[in-house]
């Protein structure tokens, strides 16, 4: 088996709510090899989103370690986590989270701009846009796109900088079954064709079935 792309050991996260400490993660251990499509399932409050936020550099860990490609990200500064988000991870959210004032093309271009890669997508990425089925919809603003189209634009934006990891948080949570299947098909295609490592949070067993492997979380830990 290859070296894990993501190596998590004893990961802890405690949120301070008023004067009360609320543990969200209580010692998570997880290895994800490169190119894996991993589904993470579990009830609300089990710590799935917190795990994502730490892997994605949106918040620091309280304890333990997270190594991505050998780099320990648990001790990164705010600026270090910004660099991580810029270069190593791409996010897909349940609510699509496209910038409403920009066209689909500009939503993708701004991710490249922020990463300092210019605005024009690489010729090879045109194929990915065709695979996503949005090549003809790029000049539309999000309000003119269906939910499924918006989510596919969000996927394009998330992978345009070739991140090591695509983090998808309930990517089908706001979609009907037809669009859900289309988005999951696209993600599976990306995983197969580009060997894109994908971590997907979902409540939906049918969605989880698209992944190579499913891990279950409960009470801030990986359930065995």
């Amino acid at each position: 088996m290859s070296e894990p792309l993501i190596e998590i050991r004893g990961l802890q996260k405690v949120y301070r709510v008023g004067k009360v400490d609320v543990p969200a993660l209580r010692g998570v251990d997880l290895d994800v090899p490169p190119g894996e499509f991993l589904a993470i399932v579990g009830p609300s409050g089990s710590g799935k989103s917190t795990l994502f936020h730490i892997i994605g550099g949106l918040t620091p860990a309280t304890g333990g370690s997270v190594r991505i490609g050998g780099q320990d990200i648990s001790s990164l500064s705010d600026a270090g986590r910004t660099e991580l988000r810029k270069n190593k991870v791409g996010f897909v959210f349940q609510k699509f989270n496209l910038l409403p004032n920009l066209t689909a093309a500009d939503n993708i271009a701004i991710a490249r701009h922020i990463a300092g890669r210019g605005q024009t997508v690489e010729p090879a990425f045109e194929e990915v846009l065709k695979l996503l089925g949005i090549a003809q919809r790029l000049n539309h603003k999000p309000a003119a796109l269906s939910g499924g189209e918006q989510q596919r634009v969000a996927i394009a934006r998330a992978i345009v900088n070739h991140p090591a990891i695509l983090l998808a948080d309930e990517p089908t949570g706001n979609l009907d079954s037809e669009n859900s299947a289309a988005v999951l098909d696209v993600m599976r295609d990306l995983n197969r064709r580009l060997r894109q490592t994908i971590l997907m949070i979902t409540h939906n067993p049918e969605a989880a079935a698209f992944a190579h492997r499913t891990v279950r979380m409960r009470d801030g830990r990986i359930a065995r």
Partner: protein, 368 residues
């Protein structure tokens, strides 16, 4: 890309953007109008003084370039000055205020015509009697007067308008000197004396002669010197200059407050978008840059609108009060008000920008 994001953000809420620009434009217009009025009225005074055709102006003790009250100079001094060897012509004139910005001149019309070349009449002609009045085209337009009509709002007296003259000489109103002297209790006295030398080269000699003749208490100005002293800095011992500085300060404060509120609202409305940008890897500086760039665009837009409104203000003033106020257009002040606006908007955008840059991405993404 940043520019497109900024422009799209501004276009997304057009009313907010336009209203902010308009509010930024208000102090810009105020400053430009104030400076324009100051410079315009002083330039108008200088033009009118030059229109008299004199080389030297003699003013009584206790006066300055911009202050002249009463008529303390004995009229016989005019004849004494006239006798000086290098003097071609000397005329006395009495000046009396009608309103705070409008004056009436009492003139000896034949001698004034000799010095200035005479009025150019657009309607009517010179005085024919003691109660006659010549008004310039601006006063006539503002007060809707025509030759042959009567004016009753000058010194509580009924005057017959004998002529409407082209502007640019003396005050807006001229009456016979003797009438104004008697009317104001200054019989035999004048407010100032204008002197024309035989040749321009004689002006320094005449100045010396006059100083010797009248003594140091009187004020003597060559016309060139007099007009050069008509500056904003000289008005009321620099009070106008200070007033303009205060208005500039108010402009900065208004620009600051408008943009602070506008950008604070924008940051609140765009909390989720800021979270998205942060999730994409945008740095604090990137977020701050977008907020500041939006403010700069609004500041520049507000400056342009404000400059445009200053032209509208001038048109209104020229239409409504042509004889009372003269507003100059002051292009040299455009970059200054632009700088003032930018200073105000950058200060105003700084706090919202910094708070946006410091937002927690998870909280921002969860914002509804």
């Amino acid at each position: 890309m940043t520019a497109r994001l900024v422009l799209e953000n501004l276009k997304h809420k057009p009313m907010r953007s336009l209203l902010s620009m308009f509010l930024i434009a208000v102090p810009v217009t105020l400053i430009l109008c104030l400076v324009g009025l100051s410079q315009g009225m002083l330039a108008d005074s200088a033009r009118r003084a030059r229109g008299i055709g004199a080389d030297i102006m003699v003013r009584p003790p206790g006066t300055s370039v911009l202050t002249l009250s009463g008529a303390p100079i004995p009229e016989k001094l005019v004849d004494v000055i006239q006798q000086q060897p290098h003097v071609a012509l000397a005329i006395g004139m009495i000046v009396h205020p009608v309103t705070s910005v409008t004056f009436v001149n009492g003139i000896d019309l034949p001698r004034f015509n000799q010095m200035s070349g005479g009025f150019k009449y657009l309607e009517g002609g010179p005085f024919q009697g003691p109660d006659d009045l010549i008004v310039d085209e601006y006063y006539a337009r503002q007060h809707k007067l025509h030759a042959g009509e009567y004016a009753t709002d000058v010194l509580n007296r009924r005057w017959r308008v004998t002529g409407i003259a082209e502007g640019g000489k003396l005050a807006h109103l001229s009456v016979p000197m003797r009438t104004l002297q008697d009317l104001t209790g200054n019989t035999g006295k004048v407010s100032q004396i204008f002197v024309k030398a035989n040749r321009p080269a004689d002006i320094p000699v005449v100045m010396t002669e006059l100083k010797t003749l009248l003594g140091p208490a009187y004020n003597f100005y060559t016309m060139e010197e007099f007009t050069s002293l008509l500056t904003v800095e000289n008005v009321q011992g620099g009070a106008l200059s200070t007033f303009i500085d205060v208005m500039v300060g108010i402009g900065v404060v208004i620009g600051f407050a408008v943009v602070l509120l506008s950008m604070y609202m924008a940051v609140l409305q765009r909390t989720r978008e800021i979270g998205i940008l942060k999730a994409l890897g945008a740095s604090r500086w990137f977020i701050l840059k977008i907020i500041l760039a939006e403010a700069v665009v609004m500041g520049l837009g507000g400056t342009v609108v404000g400059i445009g409104l200053s032209f509208v203000a001038r048109w209104l003033i020229e239409s409504l009060y042509p004889a009372s106020l003269t507003q100059a257009i002051t292009p040299l002040w455009w970059p200054i008000v632009g700088g003032i606006s930018l200073a105000g908007v950058l200060l105003g955008a700084l706090y919202p920008g910094l708070s946006a840059a410091a937002q927690d991405p998870i909280e921002a993404l969860a914002y509804e």
